[in-house]
């Protein structure tokens, strides 16, 4: 019988061999292929690749964990990260495809007839994308740390090297087909354990239905059971709304707008054959994304139930799990393996040989703790980002499922990191260097500078990933706020309003980005350096608005400033109004290239 470490290596190794094989087979030749894969990709294929590109460490590794430990209030991630596709399909995708250039900043530069606008857009894209990659690196660290059984930091460094080698390999074309393979790996890895667990707990093979079904062991509805046991331990009830409603709305809106403003997702819609296909593509992307997003809330709730059951094997009224059980019984093996990563920890504070897991901050628990001689919560560290990866082990599923999940988590993190690095490198080489600094650069020089930009981006992200400003999904949420405040309004106004001129767009983007960056840095530390924050998200500067939710306000500022400045400056020239008119109409889109 193979041990788990070998199984993990096998699954991860096999999946990597597959991706690299595809990347070599479809290696990018010309610059056009490198960026936009020759515009010859079918909407379903494109949708699947977009889904892989989109669903990153944040969706795969981190999100269900955040939902599990908070419950209803973190539904924001589910609605926010899917609702953005509606905006993308209705407001941006078809028009950008009609416009027919390679990058988002090219559109902004041409529409606002201003190299400055293009430059500002490039800076916005780079700021948002680098923040996003930091979140990915956090997830990569968790995944590599676990499957190589090393510390989180070592895992992160190894992961960074792999991501770099991987992203440099090919451009979009290689990446598109690789991402289709990655999608298949990641969706199987996410849903298979969820189906097993849903069957165990509810008897329903579809996790999204099992979530609203009955818990087999108790006969009660699963969510009612979960509410009850977390209440018994002094935690906030799972299905109840506890947080601030205003912040919840703003956060959801920021994630939605940000989704429609992120360059690596928008770039995908440049690669479909026709304008009508761009509309379908957004729908197909959401189909493939929804498979994971409809499953995630079930994964979160069921894992929370399983963890609580493991910590209280005799029920929440009985004795807590003993140290002896944790050491000897096979269903507790995952605790020892995750302890090695430094992301899980426990301590027998009262020396009774048992680990009591409860909310020691809850006043309701004080009496019970005193009566039983508990000295505080003894499951001292449970990093939210480990939940999905540890989930199959927590549910005691077979070794091959655990290996599959390790491969899936890496696929999610790698595919997005690669897509983002591509967006960053094209922004630097195509828009910044060829577009502004040195227009006469050769194709070779452009490709070389693209790769150097990738290397620099990954180094910065790795360094900051060692001290991330939050769990993977929270860091990624910051990136969405930045994209929401800067790029989305400029794109939308560029298409839907002929009034907005060059000065308006530039002023809007600068205002939106600056205000949002400053608000984030005030709460998360300047350049995310620990210890430099003046405020805390628990008690934010502005009402109840957390730094992760500020993107929607930044976007509103962007719109307002753009309209104000455009109203005071020279009107948009006639030929630009014609350009906007032509972007709005599908007829006449440049033909797709075959490949």
């Amino acid at each position: 019988m193979m041990d788990q470490f070998t199984i993990n290596l096998l699954f991860v190794g096999a999946s990597f061999a597959l991706y690299i094989g595809i990347a070599i087979w479809a290696r990018a030749g010309t610059t056009s292929e490198f960026y936009a894969a020759g515009r010859g990709i079918h909407p379903v294929t494109n949708g699947m690749a977009t889904a892989a590109d989109w669903m990153s460490a944040a969706s795969f590794i981190s999100m269900a964990g955040l939902i599990a430990f908070v419950g209803y209030d973190n539904s924001t991630y589910l609605m926010g990260w899917t609702g953005g596709y509606v905006l993308l399909a209705l407001l941006l995708a078809p028009y950008l495809r009609k416009f027919g250039k390679y990058t988002v900043s090219e559109f902004i530069g041409d529409r606002f007839y201003s190299p400055t606008a293009r430059l500002v857009a490039v800076i916005c894209l780079i700021v948002a994308s680098v923040t996003y990659v930091i979140g990915q690196m956090t997830g990569v660290g968790v995944a590599f740390g676990r499957f190589l059984e090393v510390s989180n930091t070592t895992g992160l460094l190894i992961g960074a090297a792999v991501v770099f080698a991987y992203a440099v390999f090919g451009g979009m074309k290689g990446v598109t087909y690789t991402q289709v393979a990655q999608y298949v790996v990641l969706i199987l890895a996410y849903t298979i354990p969820a189906v097993f667990i849903s069957l165990q707990l509810t008897g329903n093979p579809i996790p999204g239905l099992g979530l609203f079904g009955d818990h087999t062991a108790s006969g009660e509805p699963l969510l009612a059971k979960l509410d009850q046991i977390v209440r018994d331990l002094g935690f906030a009830e799972y299905t109840v709304h506890h947080g601030d409603t205003f912040n919840m709305v703003l956060f959801t809106l920021s994630l939605m707008i940000g989704t429609a403003g992120l360059p690596h997702v928008i770039m995908r819609f440049f690669t479909v054959p026709k304008v009508s296909d761009a509309r379908w593509s957004a729908g197909w992307a959401l189909v493939f994304i929804a498979l994971l997003y409809l499953t995630a809330p079930a994964v979160g709730a069921m894992a929370r139930l399983n963890i609580t059951d493991l910590m209280w094997p005799n029920g929440t009224d009985g004795q807590a799990v003993s140290l002896e059980q944790i050491e000897n019984e096979p269903q507790y093996d995952w605790m020892a393996t995750w302890q090695k990563t430094g992301l899980l920890g426990w301590e027998d504070k009262n020396g009774d040989g048992r680990i009591q897991y409860y909310n020691d901050a809850s006043p309701a628990m004080e009496e019970k703790a005193a009566a039983n001689g508990w000295a505080g919560n003894e499951l001292t560290n449970f990093n939210r980002d480990i939940l999905v990866l540890a989930n199959p082990e927590i549910a005691n599923l077979p070794g091959w499922v655990v290996g599959l999940v390790a491969a899936g988590g890496l696929a999610a993190a790698l595919s997005t990191a690669a897509g983002l690095l591509l967006a960053i490198s094209s922004a630097v080489s195509h828009d910044l260097i060829k577009g502004a600094i040195n227009p006469s650069i050769s194709e070779r020089g452009e490709l070389l500078s693209a790769r150097i930009a990738m290397a620099v981006a990954i180094a910065v992200a790795t360094y900051l990933g060692l001290n991330p400003p939050g769990f993977a999904a929270q860091t990624v949420a910051l990136a969405f706020g930045l994209a929401a405040a800067s790029i989305f309004p400029a794109l939308m106004m560029g298409i839907f309003s002929t009034k907005i001129n060059n000065h308006g767009a530039v002023a809007g983007m600068v205002a939106g980005l600056l205000v949002t960056v400053v608000y984030i840095f005030l709460h998360k530390g300047w350049f995310f350096i620990p210890g430099t924050a003046s405020f805390d998200d628990a008690d934010p500067l502005l009402f109840t608005v957390k730094s992760t939710s500020f993107g929607a306000i930044g976007a509103a500022i962007n719109f307002a400033v753009a309209y104000l400045v455009a109203g005071m400056t020279k009107e948009t020239p006639q030929e630009i109004k014609e350009l906007v008119r032509s972007v709005r109409i599908p007829r006449g889109a440049a033909a797709a290239q075959s490949h």
């Binding site: 209803y72 539904s75 589910l78 609605m79 899917t82 609702g83 596709y85 509606v86 905006l87 399909a89 209705l90 407001l91 078809p94 999204g208 979530l211 609203f212 079904g213 009955d214 009660e220 509805p221 699963l222 969510l223 009612a224 059971k225 509410d227 299905t239 709304h241 409603t245 919840m248 709305v249 959801t252 809106l253 939605m256 026709k274 304008v275 009508s276 509309r279 379908w280 957004a282 729908g283 959401l286 189909v287 929804a290 997003y293 409809l294 809330p297 008119r581 709005r584 109409i585 599908p586 007829r587 006449g588 889109a589």
Partner: protein, 85 residues
């Protein structure tokens, strides 16, 4: 194609977008968050309808919306003679 024709096409598109976005906001910000207390009487599997909308329903409606929009627009393109040939 005349300017008038393309204006009609654009207006029809904007109307469609407006209605789609009303539904988009209603199922997420509405049923999922702000109107949840009003829906709390409707029980769904151990919790209420608002919770279901926040964790499943809104996503399903988003999907339906995008496909509906794509289908309507592609039809509209042909009706107004602005489809790709």
């Amino acid at each position: 194609m005349s300017e008038e024709q393309s204006n009609d096409y654009w207006k029809a598109n904007l109307r469609l977008i407006q209605w789609s976005l009303v539904i988009w906001a209603l199922v997420s910000f509405g049923f999922g968050i702000l109107l949840r207390p009003l829906l709390s009487g409707i029980k769904v599997g151990g919790t209420d309808l608002g919770f279901w909308f926040a964790q499943q329903g809104s996503i399903l409606v988003f999907l339906a919306l995008i496909f509906f929009y794509a289908w309507r627009m592609n039809k509209l393109d042909r009706q107004h003679g602005v489809d790709e040939q």
